[in-house]
């Protein structure tokens, strides 16, 4: 997640301004005043990312890596188990969303007058949720290992 700019997170260029102070001489009188110039050179923004770690907790921390996450080896490296757990956590949430979609579909079937189909789909939703609950329990136990 980038908190300061809406960009890709990668090194990039866009116009931006810097305040400068210049010394000028007018009519034999030297004085200093501030100018604001537009620059278009490349630059880096410190930024933050959300991460899911082994404990399943999402958190945000700052990087000074110019957004090149592939090059970040220190804070962003995850073990295979961490990745599997992140994937599993995603799937549990994803399955819950699918279960809701199926329940909505069942309700529409009921509205069409097909109550038998509604009951069958809702039974499937129940089975689906039981399976997902089992996954969730496994995930929780893994998080506490």
């Amino acid at each position: 997640m980038h908190v300061d700019h809406d960009h890709t997170g990668l090194p990039h260029e866009h116009p931006h301004e810097h305040a400068h102070t210049h010394e000028h001489t007018h009519d034999g009188v030297t004085h200093t005043h501030e100018h604001v110039h537009e620059h278009t050179h490349g630059h880096e923004h410190p930024h933050t990312h959300d991460h899911i770690h082994a404990e399943g907790a999402e958190h945000t921390h700052s990087h000074e890596c110019a957004g090149a996450c592939g090059s970040c080896q220190s804070q962003c490296e995850h073990t295979p188990k961490e990745e599997l757990m992140a994937l599993m956590k995603y799937m549990v949430g994803h399955n819950a969303a699918h279960a809701k979609e199926l329940a909505d579909l069942a309700a529409k079937l009921d509205q069409t007058g097909d109550h038998t189909a509604y009951e069958q789909v809702m039974a499937a939703v129940s089975d689906f949720e039981k399976g997902n609950m089992r996954l969730s329990v496994v995930l929780t136990s893994m998080e506490h290992e």
Binding site: G9, L10, I52, G70, E83, Y90
Partner: protein
């Protein structure tokens, strides 16, 4: 909806660029892939195909 596998130029096992892709951004001729672990990969090219049912996408790499 689901995570995808992204391939380069053609859909074949040896051309897998990134798995578990959760976001694909196309900007200024660059396709930026982000996976579930927030790792990013950028490639110059275009999104040629995305099959959201099968969870696959193909990036056509720009000619050098």
């Amino acid at each position: 909806m689901c995570l995808s596998t992204v391939y380069k130029n053609k859909l074949a096992p040896e051309t897998v660029m990134m798995k578990n892709v959760m976001r694909i951004e196309c900007k200024d001729g660059v396709v930026i892939l982000t996976d579930l672990m927030e790792r990013q990969m950028a490639v110059e090219g275009t999104l040629e195909m995305a099959n959201l049912v099968d969870g696959v996408a193909v990036i056509k790499e720009a000619a050098v």
